[in-house]
Amino acid sequence: MKSRASFPRVLGRILTYVLAILIALWILAPIYLIGVSAFGEKLSAYTYPRPFWPAPFTIETMSFFLKSGGVIKSVQSSVIVAMITLVLSTLIGAPAGYTIARFIFSGRDAFRLIVVSTRSFPIVILSIPLAVTFIEWGMYDSVYSLALMHTALALPFTILITSSVFASIPRDLEEAAQTLGCSQLEAFLRISLPLALPGLAAATLFTFVLSWNEVFAAVILTVRNRTLPALVLTVLSESQLPYRFAGGFFMMVPSLIFMLFIRRYLLNLWGRVTK
């Protein structure tokens, strides 16, 4: 039976779309506006009323920002820190994620609980004592030390994402491979790993962005080897408007790209309330 579209029904539907689009605009508009500021002429940052499209479109502002003192170096530091974080947290976290997904052992729930609670641990309480410790150990103001800190912050997420990725691959598949002549390791390498690859890629992307965005630990643990957000934060109050706009946009770019790739895993990442 085809339901007849009554007037209130259609109206409700339209209103739902209007609301959905309005909220989408509320999220997109600010991103668009910072983009306009970042790709306008450098002096247009001071024009008023503000233009709503970049006319003319130019990379003048962006290149001004990138050529400003220390920016390129800080971008390099950011990328190095994020890459190390990505590799370390995957190497350390993925086996743990796999273990939670595949093995039944005593202490499993306790470990899970620890991981879930460290996911939202205040960075403040970790960064300050670590800074003191790093100074004592001569590891202060180093991108490697910061990468270790970021790995610790990312680790709970890596473990949770990878465990949900591996949990979504039926263990039967690995067992079937074992009955067909694979060792446990071979079964993992030939079956689970290829199937998990997209999910693992999402996990590493997430880690990258987490490190790229992190500012509190970065600003506490570094002095001369600032990452990009740490640098921008410390010079913010003395910086010119074009610098701020271009910097704000530049810092946002990786997140925009990464959300595209990770969106399939979003719900697993934050959603799993119960096992």
């Binding site: 739902t16 008023y48 009323p49 403040v124 997140s255 697993n268 309330v273």
Partner: protein
């Protein structure tokens, strides 16, 4: 016999690196934070750093503002996130696209979000352009003035709602998806309105998700500082910002650690309150 033994040990071997890492970078610093906060340089137990913290002029303001932001932002965020989540779940066309758009802020850093909203609220910014363009204002209004704490706070609230609602939405969408559609269909069959469905069916069943989201948001809210710095400079100070200032500017890790301990305590207390306040009675679980 050895093979069996090894098989039993495998999970622990695989967990070991994570456990060691978490221990070094979570347990160890946490203990250090307490010794930093409660010990003098000479290594004696003292509350001196806490009294320094409390007696600092900025403390009361930072404490008040942090809590105030929390109290304002969280209800707004949860209402908005619930609407967003219900929209995503209402079988719209392109709901995948909407979910993508709604979750974009999840990847945007505090600092970048702060700068974005600074560009909007600043004197020669987009908000003034729109308001004067529409004739609502005659000349640009200085929202972000240190004399104007109300507007400063407002700008920070808007920026935080914009940035950090996504995470709540994602948790709620996941929670909604775990509610079997039969429950809502049953409510439909018995003639429930949308409003009744939200209050009688959806919210009670979302309780675990809401609890997780509340805990997460509250803990994260105690750590906020870069948004406020980017939007309001020193005009709005928060607990985390004070911790940063005491460490970075005054070079006093003890008072900074005292702030850290305070933030941790607030996080734990609020978590406990949420767990207790939103507990599901045993007999209502299925």
């Amino acid at each position: 016999m050895n093979a069996r033994r090894l098989k039993q040990l495998t999970p622990y071997l695989l967990l070991l690196p994570s456990i060691i890492f978490l221990f070094i970078f979570f347990a160890f610093p946490m203990v250090n934070a307490f010794t930093l906060a409660f010990q003098s340089d000479a290594g004696e137990w003292t509350l001196e750093h806490f009294s320094t913290m409390v007696n600092d002029v900025a403390f009361a303001q930072a404490f008040r503002t942090t809590l105030l932001l929390l109290v304002i932002i969280i209800p707004v965020q949860f209402a908005l996130a619930l609407i967003m989540a219900l929209l995503i779940q209402s079988k719209l066309k392109f709901s995948g696209l909407f979910l993508y758009i709604y979750s974009i802020p999840l990847g945007i850093s505090e600092l970048a979000a702060g700068i974005v909203w600074f560009a909007i609220f600043t004197e020669r910014g987009y908000l003034n352009t729109v308001l004067t363009g529409l004739g609502i204002l005659e000349k640009p209004f200085i929202f972000l003035s240190y004399q104007n704490t109300g507007w400063l706070l407002f700008a920070v609230v808007v920026a935080e709602v914009w940035r950090a609602t996504s995470i709540v939405m994602v948790i709620l969408v996941a929670g909604l998806q775990s509610i079997p559609s039969e429950f809502l269909e049953a409510a439909d069959v018995f003639g429930a309105t949308l409003w009744q469905k939200v209050w009688q069916v959806i919210l009670p069943m979302l309780k675990p998700s809401l609890q997780v989201a509340l805990i997460l948001r509250t803990i994260l809210a105690f750590q906020v500082f870069a948004v406020a710095m980017a939007v309001a400079g020193r005009g709005v100070t928060l607990l985390a910002a004070e911790a940063y200032r005491w460490y970075g500017t005054y070079r006093n890790p003890h008072v900074a650690a005292a702030y850290a301990v305070l933030i941790l305590t607030l996080s734990i207390v609020s978590t406990a309150l949420y767990v207790w306040g939103l507990r599901t009675p045993e007999e209502q679980t299925l």
